[in-house]
């Protein structure tokens, strides 16, 4: 389960977003919404979501916030990266009904796993649309890539790109059967109870082991605590209390 990834490219693609492309040691199928637990930083691993994967390549998109992600942004092509994973449960891209309309809602650094999920859904012929929220125009990424897959609305808090306001104001639930969402907790809270038949949200949490043993990344649920790493990070919206 520990894999040595080889860095292919590492570049900043927007304000607060660095895209890291790596070669996997072997071809593998990775479900969208799962994550890799990367060995960067002084001691503990860092859980990073997967922005895209195919054949023997994997793409991460992360925001540099501290020691671990700082080290990640310094990796040069040819260097190796110790990755535990893929871990966790992803979005149910294979079980969505082909006749369903899937709405993908992402906020900031929560957008990357939705790109991979949407690409996989569109591959199956599922109708998708996306609403992506960012702070400001400079922090927008992957807009064209999403548009190539389906109708996409971009919002920025300051109005410097797309529609001004929060992502939640731009959501249209009419005719939508399934919701996939990933982003800040406030955004997830506001989409959690939308009038959509099936709602899946991906949550972020400080993690220890990433495999369910340490109980660091728990999240409240109607039946006690669930673990973000192994019960999630993608949950049915009604399974978690945010």
């Amino acid at each position: 389960m520990i894999q040595q990834l080889t860095i292919l490219s590492n570049r900043k693609i927007a304000k607060g977003a660095t895209e890291l492309v790596c070669r996997l040691p072997e071809r593998q199928e990775i479900a969208p919404g799962r994550f890799m637990h990367l060995k960067v930083g002084p001691l503990l691993r860092r859980p990073i979501s997967i922005a895209d994967a195919g054949d023997d390549e994997i793409t991460f998109l992360f925001k540099e916030v501290g020691k671990g992600t700082g080290e990640l942004s310094g990796l040069q092509p040819g260097m190796t990266l110790d990755a535990l994973g893929p871990l966790g449960n992803g979005f149910p891209v294979d079980s969505v009904d082909e006749a369903d309309h899937v709405l993908l809602v992402g906020g900031g650094i929560g957008v990357p796993p939705l790109y991979y999920a949407m690409r996989k859904l569109v591959e199956r012929g599922v109708r998708c649309s996306a609403v992506l929220g960012f702070d400001t125009g400079e922090s927008v990424f992957y807009e064209d890539a999403f548009r190539a897959l389906g109708p996409t609305t971009v919002t920025t808090v300051d109005g410097t790109a797309g529609t001004k306001g929060f992502v939640t104001a731009a959501i249209e639930t009419e005719g939508v059967d399934v919701l996939f969402a990933c982003g800040p907790e406030a955004m997830l809270r506001s989409v959690q109870h939308l009038d959509i038949k099936e709602r899946y949200i991906s949550i972020e949490n400080r993690m220890g082991c990433g495999i369910g043993a340490c109980f660091a990344c728990v999240c409240a649920s109607p039946s006690g605590y669930v673990k973000t790493c192994t019960d999630g990070p993608v949950f049915r919206a009604e399974e978690v209390i945010l």
Binding site: L84, I211, C217
Partner: protein, 308 residues
């Protein structure tokens, strides 16, 4: 000849390596990664009488080469552990040590009585040193009178040998160790985490929801080695050493200091295969250092210092 086997009260260890309590759950997560039967033993997650949900998040924060945690003894309660967790562990050829926690002496006694009756459990680890719960835990581990009284009461009901887990958050750990030895402890496990705090400079507030947490990882290893060294000179009961073990040489250091077996904690979170890897690395490293049997070096760091 097995160069790694160690015989301790209640425990016939094929090698001296075991995952530390709270760092390995009840083994299920790791059983998918490697055969748990390679382990000398497993110190399972703390049991309390009733289910505990633990503290709010954030529960962990990195700090240098260490990790602060404040999980808060989340566990399903002793009955669920007996009914659902121990049967799974009975499938493996490894010695199970059950960690017993509580908020009152009565709770410790009841949990010890129940869990020590399980044939799967070979020894108890009396957790009087958890820094992350409001009542009980650490308060029993910092007062030698309370610690020895609790040890005596648990010993009276336990069907298995009792190892007392010592806290480093005391002025004299030797005083604690000799007190619980006199009260009948069969062994010691040490050290638990050191109480610490980290503050987020953006908010000016502690990172952990519990404000304080227990520091573990490589940062605390020299503290553990020193304490094992000091205690092992003063007691006749065996010590299972722990605190920041990341690699095979750390194990040897603890045994040189006086430990008879070694538990691996935080390292399991960084590399889930670490216990197995350390066990596999031990014979080769012992060859390099000219060590025939692992117990040949136990306490060898004591030298011939004259006591003041």
């Amino acid at each position: 000849m097995n160069r790694l086997n160690v015989e301790l009260p209640g425990l016939s260890l094929k090698n001296p390596i075991m995952p530390a309590s709270g760092c390995f759950g009840f083994g299920e997560e790791f059983a998918g990664l490697y055969d748990l039967s390679v382990l000398g033993g497993i110190m399972i997650k703390a049991a309390t009488r009733d289910e505990r949900f633990g503290n709010k998040t954030p529960r962990v924060a990195e700090s240098g080469m260490g990790m602060l945690n404040a999980i808060g003894l989340q566990n399903p309660g002793v009955e669920a552990i007996l009914g659902e967790k121990l049967p799974f562990l009975s499938n493996y050829d490894t010695e199970i040590i059950a960690n017993v926690a509580g908020s009152t002496p009565e709770e410790y006694v009841e949990v010890a009585r129940m869990i020590s009756a399980s044939p799967v459990v070979k020894a108890l680890e009396l957790n009087i040193s958890c820094p992350n719960v409001k009542c009980g835990g650490l308060q029993f581990g910092t007062d030698p009178v309370m610690a020895s009284e609790l040890t005596r009461r648990v010993k009276a009901v336990s069907e298995k040998p009792v190892y007392v887990k010592l806290s480093p958050n005391v002025t004299s750990i030797v005083e604690m160790a000799t007190a619980v030895e006199a009260a009948g402890a069969d062994g010691l496990t040490m050290i638990n985490t050191l109480i610490g705090m980290r503050i987020d400079v953006r908010t000016g507030q502690p990172i952990l929801a519990n404000r304080i947490g227990g520091l573990s990882g490589p940062s605390i290893k020299p503290v553990a080695v020193r304490m094992i060294h000091d205690v092992s000179r003063e007691v006749d009961i065996p010590i299972i050493g722990m605190g920041g073990v990341m690699e095979v040489d750390d194990v040897l250091e603890m045994i040189y200091a006086g430990a008879s077996a070694v538990a691996v904690g935080t390292a399991n979170f960084v590399n889930p295969y670490i216990c197995k890897e350390i066990i596999e690395a031990l014979p080769g490293r012992m060859d390099e250092l000219g060590i025939e049997h692992i117990m040949d070096i136990r306490g060898r760091a004591h030298g011939h210092l004259h006591r003041a």
